[in-house]
Amino acid sequence: MGISTSSQSSAVSRRRFLANVARAAGGASALGLVVGLFARQAQSLPAQALRPPGAGTEDQFLAACVRCGLCVRDCPYPTLGLASFGDDVPVGTPYFVARSAPCEMCDDIPCVKACPTGALDSNLTHIDDADMGLAVLIDEETCLNLQGLRCDVCQRVCPLINEAITLERKHNTRTGKHAIFIPTVHSDKCTGCGKCERACVLETAAIRVLPRYLAKGRIGSHYRFGWIEKEKHGGKSLTPGLIDLPDRLPAVLPDVLKGWKP
């Protein structure tokens, strides 16, 4: 029964108890460290694995997603799947690979509605506001449009055609008389659904959806573009006292400068 009959055996059992506690606590702490470090490594997400709409940042998502798979069950397309043990995606979390099966951008967003924990943010009610990633025309050397052909497939399948992907014209110097229609992604509209990547006719897609942090550059916060600042200033010069001298010598020199050499 463990009832102590003398103070001596009580001291012994207390010592043993403390040793046991220390051992269990030490072991558990070591386990915690190992688990924490393993998790850091295991939570890195490959760039082609995209989260369902409303997922927020990866850290937020891995704190909130209980990996129940209800979003996967309510996805009407074969898009969403749960990472299996041994995959290179954090085990049990939902993801899709755009080239295999893109997000079809359902109007009622059933995956978000199915999420019980809010890991997929229920404030996302309009699928066009989703931000699963950002399409990038990653290879201009193989994109058919960039060779002067009219493929246009990525633009035509885009659910936000002429908003998220537009075709920007440029002179075709090879033929000298045609235009090149450059598929151009606009980051403020693109939801990262991946239909462009799925539809790209090349063997390996030239346009791909990347996580936004990989796809976007960022201008230094101290940068100012003069023409934008000028526009904000009502078109007036920001430095009115400054004299704007010509950058080059005039082709016809005035008489006073005749014979002058720079």
């Binding site: 029964m1 506690v21 072991g27 688990v35 393993f38 704190a63 299996s84 954090p90 924990t117």
Partner: protein, 305 residues
Amino acid sequence: MSAKSYIGRDAVLENGWLAAHKWLLIRRIVQLGILGLFLAGPLADVWIVKGNLTSSLTLDVLPLSDPFILLQSLFAGHVAASSAVLGAAIVVAFYLLVGGRVYCSFVCPVNIVTDTARWLAKRFALPKGWQPSRQTRLWVMGSVLVTAMVSGVMAWEMLNPVTIIHRGLVYDFGYVWTVVLALFLFDLVVSRRGWCGHLCPMGAFYGVLGVFSMTRISATQRAACNDCMDCFAVCPEPHVITPALRGAGTKTGPVILSGDCTNCARCIDVCAKNVFQFDLRFNNFAPASEGDGRDEMVSTNRHAA
């Protein structure tokens, strides 16, 4: 009389095979039945239950969520939406009613793996191996929560064999067999009952619920005990039996109050003298806390157990 050939032989002779395996059979049927409900959707397109044990939706109305997983999420810094919180509250209420670690013995799919390992270990008289303190699982549970808090993600869920195995069964089994095999071998040769009995933080969490839960097993007829020791031999947490069964002299019991008890009811099965039965925790007619200091000491010991 010849030596005992197996645990529960007396009960089989006394009450018949079926009665001596009643709760074991019920337990296996419930375990497989729950698994069947989860699998009916993906396998037969009968969607009674969607999701898995971490969070599910039954008949499109009843949300259920695992409270321990949600607690990890909270420690990682996410306050879950109302559906999951309601689901966890229902689960907590249920286990407070039927017994905390009923999850372990009647629901958790790992139980079948570790029970098999234990049965084989006993069958072939393998050494018990590493037997860390039973409290280790509480430390592991604390460690899991602290790790979630420090890392800001549910780090344990990258490894948690309980959720990985169940998810693997319901979704994509893939390499999950390696987890099953690892657990099986760990329990078979490294540490008997090591996972469920000593380490699993989910079991520890449900054990904490069990400290307060209503339905308990009671050694109500303990006067009839003939010291055959079969209940101790079959019990996955044998330390819980002592204060209830042997507590008459020290006015403890007869209800098994330890949260470690899984309510698996195998003790009811294997007892030829029908000492044990399901009961409410309040029917503990020999409360320990009354009387002299000796009793208080017993009480302290029991709560520590």
